[in-house]
Symmetry: C2
Subunit: 460 residues, 2 copies
């Protein structure tokens, strides 16, 4: 009850309904997609930049951690509350503030659902290129925090590549604007891209100016089945060595195909299929035809069992059925997945997939790998039973061995999910001590009291 005066101040600032301390509400905001939880002391729903600035001011006075939150759809604990924290949910800051198709940008609040940005852009022949799998419900603020990406990013780049400028409240209470509304900029220090991907540990973003690109007139799909992981990985490398960039280049490994079979969702695939690539081309109608031919040429080779193309919506949907079933099929293997999101140079993909197979054998774990192969970015899912401590211990050892392998291949811990609370213990494997210390100093400069999303991104 000692917090009541604080909550009164917050209610004065935000309005009665925008400060929630009811246990049932707190429980709803106690976790993201990570299987851990911690109840915050309050959930706040600011409606404006000024209200966010007010929240930071009060949190600094009261020394309370602030946990910014979009849809809570992240899977690395980026929105996991800390003890005694206030969750700042951006659900009510969901307005598109400005749309200038002639200048190819849109200014949005952090609570706007990602797909809504793309939809509005398409009404003017443009698109917002980054396409996380959660696009239908995730919010752009979370995408900005984690530098989210998706299949299209193999051609168009990730969230960071599509932000022109930001408005933000730093952890020290300062309010800044970064970047510009122009498509070129060589004036100030680039704080825009520093804040993107900083996982709410430096500042709360209250507005973002997003860069839009021309929407393709048409997209077409290819599904290719191979008799081994290696044959599929080599095809990925061939595609990325020729000039036509695919609109998507997605991989499912042997274990994924096994899971689909067990789930009854592999009907259309040739019997000997051990790996599948889903590939897309985009462009004008004429361009798409030419590009499909070029991609099909690159995809064809040793170990290919079947290649099918789809140009109509119905054909494309048919080809994607297996891939769309994968998430459910994987869930049937074991009750929990530990989802790594590693990335390697694309020429090392084959070696990575082979290593993952070996790790699965060594640690006696089913490991299902799929993802954005054109970027060398795999989602490596260790399937576990959380109530089996021996298995959980093997999984922990396996994760570390995986990370070590990825780094030995010249890769990085995360391609698109970020670090959050779940991977920060591995950062010292990727960065030397001076670099980590320097990152901690950057954090201290933005957030001297350490109230911004503590326990995320950086190791202790």
């Amino acid at each position: 009850m000692t917090d009541e005066p604080l909550f009164r101040e917050l209610r004065t600032l935000l309005g009665e309904d925008r400060v929630q301390t009811d246990p049932s509400v707190l429980s709803l905001y106690a976790q993201d997609e990570t299987p851990r939880h911690c109840r915050p002391d309050a959930v706040l729903f600011p409606a404006s930049h000024d209200q966010v600035a007010g929240i930071v001011r009060l949190a600094r006075q009261a020394q309370r951690p602030l946990i910014p939150r979009g849809a809570g759809s992240g899977n690395v604990g980026g929105a996991m509350p800390a003890p005694g924290s206030w969750v700042v949910s951006f659900e009510c800051m969901n307005h598109i503030l400005e749309f200038r198709p002639e200048d190819r940008y849109m200014v949005v609040e952090p609570g706007v659902v990602t797909d809504d940005i793309d939809k509005l852009a398409r009404s003017a022949g443009l698109m917002y290129a980054p396409d996380p799998g959660s696009g239908a419900y995730c919010r752009i603020g979370g995408n900005l925090a984690m530098n989210a990406a998706g299949p299209r990013c193999v051609k168009y780049g990730a969230t960071r590549d599509h932000v022109l400028g930001l408005r933000a409240v730093l952890g020290d209470g300062r309010e800044i604007r970064t970047g510009s509304r122009t498509s070129k900029y060589a004036t100030g220090y680039d704080l825009t891209r520093l804040l993107v991907g900083s996982e709410g540990t430096l500042a709360m973003i209250t507005e973002a100016t997003l860069r839009l690109v021309p929407a393709p007139e048409q997209v077409a799909s290819i599904r290719v089945c191979y008799d081994s992981n290696s044959a599929a990985c080599q095809a990925v490398q061939r595609v990325m060595a020729q000039p036509i960039l695919p609109y998507a280049l997605e991989f499912m490994d042997r274990r994924s195909i096994d899971a689909l079979r067990d789930f009854g969702a592999a009907e259309g695939l040739p019997a000997r299929t051990a790996a599948v690539l889903m590939v897309e081309a985009d462009g004008s109608r004429d361009e798409v035809v030419q590009r499909m031919l070029a991609l099909e040429r690159a995809l064809s080779g040793h170990g290919m069992l079947e290649i099918q193309s789809g140009f109509s919506k119905a054909e494309m949907a048919h080809l994607w059925v297996a891939r769309k079933s994968l998430s459910h099929a994987v869930k049937a293997i074991a009750p929990r997945k530990i989802n790594e999101d590693v990335v390697v140079p694309v020429s090392c993909l084959d070696a990575l997939v082979q290593s993952i197979d070996e790790l699965g054998h060594r640690y006696r774990l089913p490991i299902v790998s799929f993802g954005h192969a054109g970027n060398g970015n795999l989602h490596v899912n260790l399937m576990v039973h959380p109530d089996d401590p021996a298995e959980m211990e093997r999984a922990a050892d396996c994760r570390r061995a995986l990370v070590e392998k990825v780094l030995a291949l010249g890769g990085s811990l995360s391609g698109e999910h970020g670090i959050g609370s779940e991977k920060r213990q591995y950062l010292p494997l990727e960065f030397d001590r001076p670099s980590l210390e320097f990152m901690a100093q950057i954090k201290s400069l933005f957030d001297p009291m350490g109230i911004m999303n503590p326990g995320k991104k950086l190791p202790d």
Copy 2:
């Protein structure tokens, strides 16, 4: 002579010939393309990352400013020595350390000439997209420092968009690596893009991992003549509102055409020509034909006098003759140009060009404007006689009025040249005090002693 012990230490570190204190050498490094000069105390030619780290160590001990320098081709005083400073010339760090076409990246030292990067990339069907006008002699370190760009950037983005990772020595002597060699990355704070465009005020970059893109199979050119600046600007806006991104979209204003006429280099242009656009399309052979048609459609409209296309090298060269003569033609107007490099949202280009005309009349100055119109980025050249103090005063007032207009249109001080020593007095017009103070704190974090390129980028 009191510096002799220091120079001995530097010679031990770098080698006898790599520490130059001869007045004739010092004079060579006393200026960049800005018409001011200041002789440094020494010019150093490090050959490795470790030697750069050693230089920073000694400079910290001796409290000497360090002025990093590529080719000295910048025009905002970015490489201008400070009194008592040591110029660090990267001419000898000119090695390409790694080229992995299969992973579409190249690791280079900062002294590599920009065009050499592109040439090597093209040997494998790739290109390094940023194409500053000085590409034949400028060095990539300078491009990284200033976030350089060029005509292709309207489609492909500027230097910052093509850097995956860096190795650098900070002003506090720390040595860090940033980013990764992968095409996606969501692990550490993005220090890569913070260092790009920081103009040597935070760190010295010793290695850069550059992203490469597929080289287009073909490029073709269009030259379009209009009867007014406004007609040309409206055509630019039409091009940027349709889906085909040009490979280049360059503008020459009425004053540019006048200068070409006076110089005898406007022969091929229709008599009533008052503005010209140079436009390019790239892609496969089939794509280029389609794209040229789409661009020609968008370029056609009110006030167009003539449109000519060229597909062969000879035809393209012919179309570009006038544009390539412009630099010489402009020099004939007055002995000095004050080159602003402003950028506005492309929908404001027409308004900007009109304002520039008004400013020319109000301040009685010839102002020649041309540049990367697809990005809303104009090089605005105030032509002056430096020995006419009244004219120079009018020019100073005119510059300020120009900057104010650009900012009122939602633009920014610099699109690609950077701030250097020459524009920093205008930063308080673009940024509020908290933002400027915060940038100064960023600078202090990287460079607590203030030895890294002092007097650049930030106001005093």
